[in-house]
Symmetry: C2
Subunit: 327 residues, 2 copies
């Protein structure tokens, strides 16, 4: 058993050369890396569990991609440059093919962002993947949740709600297959997060749904917000598949979108508009921060939308039910 | 469910002040820390799984202690100073009492070594704890496995074999209770590892058993070793409980001891002897490195001891069987 897991651990050892800053990589008791002078270290950790954060039948390639993506999204929200990752992987069986697919998904994303795997642990156990990503940021320049000011404009990247719809979809139509892909392969907004450093006054990633995560930002900053329901960025595929009412609930409560939510002070608006004109990903102006606490979502000119009182659990029931046509 | 896990996550947030070097601790998307100028970062990660690395009935306090201890042992083997830890904890139930006990065990050890918890993730899932510890080391001074030379003396700290005997023991005698304690609360040799920096030519921690881990060191250094069976440090409690033959097998193959194995060049012997005279933990001179590969264990003057051909699995059968009198 140990021998099998040692063989499998080698799937993750690609250290032919040494990446920048890596003095000692995989193969010793620990890794040794060196930061650029003047930079601080940013550390993020996220765990994904089969049957909780993804259905047990999710392809290994997508699980490997996801284990890193959810962490890169946190690095993005800190305005940091991702550098080095550690992977702790518990596996029920030492199936070489599954692990090779997992590693391919992990490295596809790692290579796209120049992230070096510097160590980890592969053990026998239920399927749980924990990744820690280390990034660098100029000292004092990390983007926090707690630093928004009254009157800042509130923005989100990408489209919201696609991921939860994709997780629940049967994949029968092109739109459903698009949504499933958004669930399986979320795009961490690393470049966008980096470029917002010094421009956004506060930033968070949307992993639990916009409503819950914006609440975290507002509470940390001691603010509330006025928001426009019709400004929520909803993909045509989501609207076609579930209709507007359900799409709004999924955008606000669904989670797993891994987009960024951030605030921009009026004084930074001009430079921000110039910046986003060069982005490939869409960005939506959804509201403004105010002094009085809480989120007030306006549907049209006067009508107030009451956000259903539930977050993460709202769409979780079916997470581990195999779609009928997926067997 | 989410709310319960958020409440539980607060068990781990003790950030009243900020430890040295911590710019942003628990509560944002990531933590931000600053290294001392001239230091490199050392990163270690280890995962422990209920029923694999510890019996499922292990007290929560010991599980929390262990999750950190196994990582501090790796930091010790790198000759680094532990600084900051991340904890990813998957839990079947959000039982506040269990988590409070786990946190108490974790922080008992963290406080002893001035380790600050800077972040983590608490999720629903089977009981799996992954800890990543970040340490600092003067650039270029990390202790590696690959740097031993021919003719270096080989040493180990502490006594070997106690942990595996303790894991299998019924706790009927004082000796068995001592061994069980050694399994539940291993002492990471952080101070010893640090003080050996610049003195030991190579170092590794003994987590898989002396035979397997010394092999790692020897292979990485391109060496073999001549070793003396009668120099193996065996506790009176282990000898009393299982006898000499079994004690030797447990010392060589048992694992979970979390002691250090290291090599000392002849030129460093004088300073090394002066150093260890101030240690509280015992140290045993068990052999010498040689050019020809493999480990040769001598039992007395001429007789060669054949190490049984099995490692980690050797004593694993009973890991999850509840001792009859422990229910």
């Amino acid at each position: 058993m140990l021998a099998e897991f040692e063989l499998i651990a080698r799937c993750f050892d690609r250290s032919t050369g040494r990446a920048l800053g890596v003095d000692v990589g995989i193969g010793d008791d620990g890794a040794v890396v060196s930061l650029t002078a003047g930079n601080s270290l940013v550390v993020v950790t996220d765990t994904i569990v089969a049957g909780v954060h993804f259905p047990a039948y999710t392809p290994a390639h997508a699980v490997g991609y996801r284990a890193l993506a959810v962490n890169l999204s946190d690095i993005a929200a800190m305005g940091a440059t991702p550098r080095w990752a550690s992977l702790a992987l518990a596996l029920p069986d030492a199936e070489a093919e599954w692990v090779a697919d997992f590693a391919a998904g992990f490295f596809m994303l790692a290579d796209a962002y120049n992230v070096e795997l510097i160590g980890g642990d592969t053990v026998s156990g239920p399927l749980v993947a924990t990744v820690t990503v280390h990034g660098e940021v100029t000292a004092g320049m990390a983007a926090l949740r707690s630093t928004a000011s009254e009157g800042d404009a509130i923005y989100v990247t990408g489209n919201l709600g696609d991921a939860v719809a994709g997780r629940l979809s049967e994949g029968d139509t092109d739109a459903e297959r698009y949504l499933a892909e958004r669930f399986l392969y979320p795009t961490p907004r690393v470049h966008e997060g980096l470029s917002l450093r010094g421009i956004a006054s506060a930033m968070i990633d949307i992993s639990d749904g916009l409503h819950a995560d914006l609440d975290h930002l507002l509470l940390a900053s001691g603010l509330g917000a006025e928001l426009r329901l019709d400004a929520l960025p909803l993909s045509p595929q989501l609207l076609d598949t579930v209709g507007r009412d359900q799409a709004i609930e999924m955008a606000l409560l669904g989670g797993d979108d891994y987009e960024l939510c951030f605030t921009v002070p009026a004084g930074q608006n001009e430079i921000f508009q110039a910046l986003v004109s060069s982005w490939e990903c869409p960005v939506a102006h959804i509201g403004i921060t105010v002094a009085s606490e809480g989120q007030r979502w306006h549907d049209g000119a006067q009508q107030l939308y009451v956000v259903p009182d539930s977050g993460f659990d709202h769409f979780m029931a079916a997470v581990d039910e195999l779609p009928e046509d997926a067997g």
